[in-house]
Point group: D2
Chain length 473, copies 4
């Protein structure tokens, strides 16, 4: 499963925004490694630097020094919609009648095509395939004859889908979260200003304090002088459609998302997994690093239940296996998994093992790991997964896989277990997810595990668990 974009915006009293934005992007790097960019505004004009690659490679000290101004936004990109090239790197910037706009976007529109056609019909020309340009053009058009808040409200009524946006209108930084709150966005306070970010860990990186999550349908407008912010609740939906995968996989363990610390959520998901599908084995071990909090909660719950399972590391992750790796040839393929994850034999040899991971998408790695553990002498390998089976694609901006690549699509759990070769396999139920996230089931988007979506999507079921206003496409 792939990560997602990260957005950030800051307004400071009397300090250049570029360095704080840079450090915030560093803290959000896990959400996107394809490109990184910053736009600042110095009161007179925009300054922009956007490059392909990691934050550390995309900016040098001269680049930072040239980004003048105490207001700015930033973006790290993981490709979702739009082709993978420079034209799609963000923040996206346009000038229009009454000024300039910069947009950092996390999410995916479901009606981008229709909107683009409509704008094109009015003569608009587009330089990219991306959703973000559509939002920018629509907002620019609304700003022709409306004030900022009204224009954003009109745009929110027009664009449908998921979006958490950091927007720069001239030197004013805005934060906007879609009415369903699908992607995260939070607000924090610094000594000398305010910050909007996809995750609270970016606020921590600036030594700031998390104030709260931006609410679904809310617009936050930061004062350009860093002295405060305004809030505008532009819609008040009955239900939200928050992506439960943020807590399961995307977000950092040390971030608080929608009021819940991700590390705690994962520990509770692990406890829930024991409650639903616990099995007594000699050792409980995570697939590092994402399975660690799940495994720790699972083991703890097991031992509270009177078990005596040992929680231990059984797989060593090679931190250096990266982008520029010469892939093994077909007959060396098995070796590849050991380059990435190598067993710690004492944890595994001759033991019954519970292996814990957050999710299974294609199942390739799981299958290889189970075989590997058997090879190095595990007596039994039981696989426990901290989320339900993924059976359907994501339309909200997560590039999981197409349906026929998903190992669990159209299979029973037993059939999946057989393919993977585990001695047993257990998933976690949607209900336990909702519990662990302290969120009502109907306020979560679970399309990828139910096949029923909170948005009307051609050829897919609409989520019956929720009564939502139908959005025209």
């Amino acid at each position: 499963m792939d990560e997602k974009c990260g957005v950030v915006g800051v307004s400071l009293s009397d300090r250049a925004a570029a360095r704080p934005l840079y450090y915030a992007l560093y803290a959000l790097q896990h959400r996107g490694q394809e490109s990184a960019g910053i736009i600042t505004h110095d009161g007179f004009q925009q300054h922009s630097h956007v490059e392909m690659g990691l934050v550390g490679d995309a900016f040098d000290p001269d680049d930072i020094a040239e980004l003048n101004g105490s207001n700015g936004i930033g973006h790290v990109r993981y490709p979702t919609a739009g082709s993978v090239d420079t034209a799609c790197a963000q923040p996206f910037s346009v000038s229009f009648k009454s000024g300039s706009l910069g947009l950092s976007h996390n999410g995916n529109l479901v009606n981008a095509g229709a909107l683009r056609d409509e704008l094109a019909g009015m003569g608009h020309a587009f330089t990219s395939d991306g959703d973000t340009e559509v939002i920018a053009h629509d907002l620019a058009r609304n700003l022709l004859d409306a004030d900022l808040v009204t224009a954003v409200e009109e745009t929110m009524a027009t664009v449908h889908g998921s979006y958490s946006l950091a927007v720069m209108h001239d030197d004013r930084v805005l934060g906007l979260r879609d009415p369903q709150g699908n992607r995260p966005l939070c607000l924090g306070e610094l000594d000398d200003g305010y910050v909007l970010a996809s995750e609270s860990a970016a606020i921590d990186a600036l030594n700031g304090e998390l104030i709260r999550d931006v609410e679904p349908g809310e617009l936050i407008v930061l004062n350009p002088d860093g002295t405060g912010y305004e809030s505008h609740r532009l819609t008040d939906p009955d239900n939200t459609a928050r992506c439960f995968f943020e807590h399961v996989y995307f977000a950092r363990p040390d971030s608080t998302v929608d009021g819940k610390l991700v590390y705690e959520a994962r520990r509770e998901l692990g406890r829930g997994l024991w409650a639903e599908n616990g099995i007594d084995t000699d050792v409980v071990m995570p697939v590092p690093d994402s399975g660690r909090a799940f495994a720790s909660g699972y083991a703890e719950a097991a031992n509270e239940d009177g078990g005596s399972v040992e929680f231990a590391e059984g797989l060593m992750k090679n931190r250096y296996v990266g982008r520029t790796f010469i892939m093994p040839s077909q007959d060396e393929r098995e070796r590849a998994v050991r380059l990435k994850l190598n067993p710690i034999k004492s944890t595994v040899e001759g033991k019954t093992v519970t292996l814990i991971d957050d999710s299974i998408v294609r199942g390739t790695t799981s299958t290889q790991l189970v075989e590997l553990l058997h090879d190095v002498g595990a007596a039994e390998v039981h696989l426990r997964i901290g989320s339900p089976p993924i059976v359907a694609p994501c339309y909200m901006g997560i590039d999981m896989a197409s349906r026929d690549e998903l190992i669990a699509a159209g299979k029973t759990v037993e059939e999946v277990r057989e393919v993977i070769g585990a001695d047993s396999l257990g998933y976690l139920s949607p209900a336990s997810i909702a519990d662990a996230l302290d969120t009502a089931r109907e306020d979560l988007c679970m399309g990828c595990v139910t096949g029923e979506y909170p948005y009307d999507i051609d050829g897919e079921e609409t989520d019956r668990a929720v009564s939502r206003p139908v959005i025209g496409d």
Copy 2:
């Protein structure tokens, strides 16, 4: 004096356009070294590759292989309007209601600001500062409810200034030259298609035949299957405003521009220079490489006049002094000119010398060269220049210099001579230029040497030699 952009477009019967475009751009590299780009269309979609740097560095074989389609356009850029960054690299590409547009532009609009405001008032949002985006938006808007030829005609009525364009509308390649014909554009035939290019040398590079120059105000539409082309004379102006500097400096000697081989034009300019300002010296030598054809014509005319001047190389040019050169410190500055141009002593020592160059802009190099030749023992150094004194800026796309940087602005020839330190100095008259180019004086743009422009430019005189329709700004 700086070079200018180069544009090219090809339509082939049954062969990928990318390689021919690549070779054509190589042949036009002297017109722009900042960025290089190609857009092709395969009948279904555009393919684009644009990068900063030289043609040879901007494309690798994989890039060329991915540019599918037998129709395409290309561009090499020398920065004129718009800031010097990636956003301005061309071809510029947009998609709009009824398809896609790609534009390669050589020239400069005089009413870009007003047009941009007008379009912005209709809701258009712009991603760059460049003129080209303005043309693209205007054309896209006209194409909403007009056929191609009509839409281009409307755009031609709206945009004022200089432009030679290679345009790609879906898979159709167009060539368009402004009504004054300020920038060159020509049409050629290949074995399996047609080509439009800034200079005929690019047609030669493809082993093609020059058919003719595109006429001022003419639109050429190539058949996408490479079988032919249509011509549309959209306007029929009384006078043109062709830039005489193309023959003096910009174009390659082996190109034919507006019916005149550049090498021959320069030889004739050299002959005219003898006729107007000849002086008998032991040796006539060029500033390489641009002065060579002038000097050869000058020496030839001198000898025909019964003189016995020797035509010889007196300055050796270092081909490797390039972009990534560590500049000498202030006190080493004198050395810099010898790194670039070093005297061949036997040509100079103890001799009276006529040094021939095409033009003088700031005068820095001329001053250094004259001093250098004196230093190595020249008895006298007489400077002859193959064009009139440059006294005013260019508004048509050539980034010469601002008025106060021009050595000849506000000075008599004698005053210029004194600054440069030459024993005598002679320029060529506008009349001789017109003669050498076989073009009526009133059909040439000579703003930079007369200060009177064929376009209405705020704060500048309008060319009284020509009765031209006034263009609103």
Copy 3:
């Protein structure tokens, strides 16, 4: 504390050695990120590719394809002796009278200067400052009139200090470990050959089996056809001087070094830490990633003792903080630690905390972390360290720091605690280290924690715990 070089050598029956060497270097990347190199021999000549940077960046598929031959050696470098530049990247390669030599070296000579002088007196000229060139020249000289084994024996008698070497003499791969066995080296078997490597994880990466460690003073000669190997015990020292820091920090947890799995050693060190310096707190948390195994052993021992400490992650490590990071300015310095390690508040807030790390060198990070944990609300922060105080430099190849940079040099534990600001501080004793490593105290090099060295080093004490033959310098 910095990592150390990694070496590898393979001899295969009928397969190019380059790809296995590449994957083995990937598995050893943690031992050196400065440069990576491979030398192979195809029976006729050497092929070499050495570059600065990570393994993944240093080689592309063409490089690997050109490294012909089924025998070869590789190296990843962390700079120790010799300046940090290309000339020091390894393997180091020379040709001499009777063939070619390639050397991959992990370690540091104590008599390199004297040997270099001696060889220079015989006319040798050196291209680098490194120890490795000295070994190469000495071995080349010995090979002039001795067979391979004798020559290596002579060199072993001459060079003093630490060295684990993978050597390529023409197409023959050798492994050589110094008589004190200071740096690790092990031998493994593949389906179609044999492998020598710094750590067994590199053998795992090739799907091979660890045979055993190379013994101190042992020479292993692989058959060039991959069919077997010879062993030569060239010296038989009474005591060894194995570096205890391999188990504490350098080696991968999944490697078996000198017979002991590193992960298990660390768990036992953690248990020993509880036994010697245990304290009851609400939570036990590691400094990731190196403190994790210690903390897990510590917590386990605590709970076996009837405690009820919670083992939890309290610090989140940012995987992307890398080489090309723009360092915060002085007044942003505090921020830097939060970019690298950010607290997980639920683990820390309002709790008494035991923070576990493997070692303290300068103490900068420890001080920042303790302050950070107090800042986010820890009631108490108790620091426990899985090794003794580091009070003296390492002369065996580890670039720890000079004595006056070491926080513990010349300070009592209480004085160190005060600087760091922890509520209590506890280290582990050398005796417990020896226990956990199943190695006699006198067979370990503990110079950095005792200031007494197993080698005679100018101005330093010699280790009195051990009776060792004095080595002339």
Copy 4:
């Protein structure tokens, strides 16, 4: 025919040597584009920077700033002996018993293999395949027990072949030219020091004055404080073996080599060509740039003879066709020549043409050019070459081609003409070469055009024109 290495050395009174060396290398760039390097010495230690690529790319201002010291040497490399990789980039640097040595070498030894074996027999180990390392080791060995001048004299007695060397022994810069004076080397004076360089143009670039050529067999030792130099004539050979190709092709026209300005030499060669093989045609045109001076001398002599040939440019060279050019596919091959050299039609069309070039090696380009000129309408194309037919390889450091690639090897002039397709073909005789160079025939190396060499080379004839001491191999 390929260029050769360039060497330089400077000693200054009180100014860093790095920048002057950098500019001198720029002036010598035509002699080698593969790598560039500078070594300086600040009185205590060497500083070195060597990189692949052009001078402008190999150094940035920081590199120059770190090259401390007022004495230093530099090198640009065109690969001759030794494989084409980093290990062969120069200056080559070694440290040995009594200090450090740096060597910049232009030339080729004929007994490198034997010397290498001999040194290897004494235990020397080599890191490269190059000749330069052999010289360095031999000199270092001689310096063990001899003073500098004696040591150099001993080395000169040992190494046979061509060499012009700039050597740095600690902070002392030496210039050394082999007894036959095969490669050029000259001495110049600066305001504040002295300079040694392959060509006088490098002295010009530093605003210095050429003093004289270094004599064959002479050693120049610069005072490290820039105040003067010593000369030592170490041998006094009867005859020299100067490479006549320096004047024909390698050197810059503005350099004075062995007392003769290259531009003048080429003009005289052109005059000789008219005298020996003149033919009356409408136009005489050079292959740019190297044929230009020949053609100008040829045309001048023709007109003095009462002819009326026009000297004109007929081929335009594209300055941008460089290293990173995507080669045309087989069926586009013909196009390649037009990308590099495009005809100026007015010079050629309907005319009888004499095309003048300096030499023919493989004949590929000549054949293409003749065909091209015919194609664009030349009535006749007569080819005149300013040197004799090249029929044998060069062993002195010029990588011409192997014998079977040489178009003239084993063919009569008429047979060559037929292959090339010219209407007539004329070469220049060795006697005319000697005349134009003001040098006795027996003092020139003409191996490549006679097949008889001034050195004993296995399987080749020794030059009978000269009685030379036989050099053992």
